[in-house]
């Protein structure tokens, strides 16, 4: 799966489960730009796992700050 495909999958999760309607680009930060509080971060994590059928690792998650970071982790977990 390409980075573009992963990005658009995550964007769809954000639109569907977080009602995100704005732009969605790799350099955007989850907390500051997407304005995600704890509950919404949790929702994003779980729904991204559901959608891509991967299990994110809490040890990696603390370092995820941007949408691009999240794309990178999903790519690694998918082994592509």
């Amino acid at each position: 799966m390409s980075d573009e495909a992963i990005l658009s999958g995550i964007a769809e999760v954000a639109r569907r489960h977080l009602d995100w309607q704005g732009p969605f680009t790799p350099e955007m930060r989850l907390v500051e730009d997407l304005r995600l509080d704890s509950v919404r971060l949790l929702t994003l994590a779980i729904e991204v796992e559901n959608r891509f059928r991967v299990l994110l690792d809490e040890a990696d998650e603390g370092r995820i700050e941007t949408i691009g970071d999240l794309v990178g982790i999903v790519r690694r977990k998918l082994g592509v």
Binding site: V31, L36, L41, L42, I46, D57, G62, R63
Partner: protein, 595 residues
Amino acid sequence: MSEQPGAQTLNDYLERITGRPDAGLRFLDRGEKAHQVGWAEVRDRARAVCGGLQELGVQPGDRVALVFPTGLDFFAAFFGTLLAGAVPAPLYPPVRLGRLDEYLRRTARMLEVTKAVLVLADIRVKRILGESVALARPRLGCRTLDELPREDGRPVAVAPSDLALIQFSSGTTVDPKPVALSHRAIVAQTEILNGFWQDTETLRHSCVSWLPLYHDMGLIGCVFPALSREAELTLLGPELFVARPALWLRAISRYRATISPAPNFAYGLCVHRIADAEMEGVDLSCWQTALNGAEPVAPSVLRAFVDRFARWGFRPEALTPVYGLSEAALAVTFSDIGARFRCRRFDRDALSRSGAAREVADGREIVSVGRPVPGFRVSLRDEDGREMPSGRIGRVWIQGPSLMDGYLDDPATTARALRDGWLDTGDLGFFHPPDETGELFLAGRAKDVVILRGRNHAPDEIERAADGLPGFRTGCAIAASWLPEGAEGELLALFVEVSRTASDAELAALPERCREAVLTATGLAVDRVEVLAPGTLPRTSSGKLRRQEALRLYLAGALTPPQPVTPLRMAKAMARSGIAYARFRWSRPGETPSG
């Protein structure tokens, strides 16, 4: 009915397990697959952990911190710690995605305050806990259950007065308040709760819960009552509920649960985030008691939940608003089980000005949280601890068999909360009608705590996030939350004073910067930021900010800067009235503008 008199400690409950094949724990995963574990297996796993802890050098009375997601390991660690005569302190596992630094700092602080000798953690959690553990340096380090020595345990005899649990009433780095509960208190609370759902020949009550196990409602409200009755308890992780609220209701239906508690926000989340398709085949008619507590109950949420889920068999009389707090182990008042929840409307002016509860047709609507549970007494007091006349708002003082011993190792804070066997909850309420049939209605809080989504937060942490922002007057922020009329949950407001040298650009950017800083530091979204002139926030004579007063003024539209005293203003004030003049004279900058 499985009446089993005589249990005086949580350890007694474990020892009494008979190994019924038809009961125990059921863990659900995200695919709704169930993993069942009998109570006897829980006990055996706990005994193994007890052996490991003893071999490692854990002594009776030692504190052991537990950091696990919902799962069998939590139970093995929790009860294993108790069997070793030690005291478990469950802490919450990391939040998902980001803010790891804050989590690590907070966890380190909690380890330090509990003086934990050992941290037991899930393997995934352990990998990231390194920094917290390094900071707090527990004597025996941090281990997973697999890393404990394998030795047979020798369960230690514990007394009812021994500590059984350390619970954090709000997770905070600034001012953590770990609540210390004895076996006696927890057993008393467990028996109180079981009195509300007694098993009969034809009905054995069963519970479904997604509540965190490091939270009183999940652990004391669901786990201990199920253990003591050797009953069925179905658990799913809080993260699964938050992401997919339908999993909660589907579990209740599938396992024909009779009891399931949750805070107000959870009922609202279900209304907004469950699609019809997810409810296919769901039948909620088995759900007899839907307890609603841990945060203020919004009438609009109760009604919306009934409207939304009645078509799937949900019974309106199941909704049971309750009141409780960690310091009382859990429940203090219950509304009538099996009766429809009661809302009443009270005169807004009378409530806010004179503190009188007067029922009127178009007043502020408040939900009754019922009457004291057996063994508990509720008394309404004024600031000085004197009883209020009936029908008046007072501070809610409580007395009962499950009160905490105190805040852990903190006699000064304990002495402020506990007096002559009474606990001052810091909540405000009144009885209505004002006679012996009266039910408790909660009207707000006198204590400084922010309650959002069933969790308590210390306002200091939220306020500190603003420190250092351009244009902000450092140290001059107040965070407060309240339940507005008609709203579904509490709103969080941040009142900030600007510095005298702030530029226009800084002023314009300040609200947005505050929101961002609070979100980054605490994970909480601020609903309203109010930017105020220097000196506007009410303070005590010693200069401490008065949070509840600030909120009161804000809600009354009176949070305005103090006015400099000029001859013209003096004259105007004198002209208005003698009283106004007196007030004017006595109001100094920084003090509450009166009237």
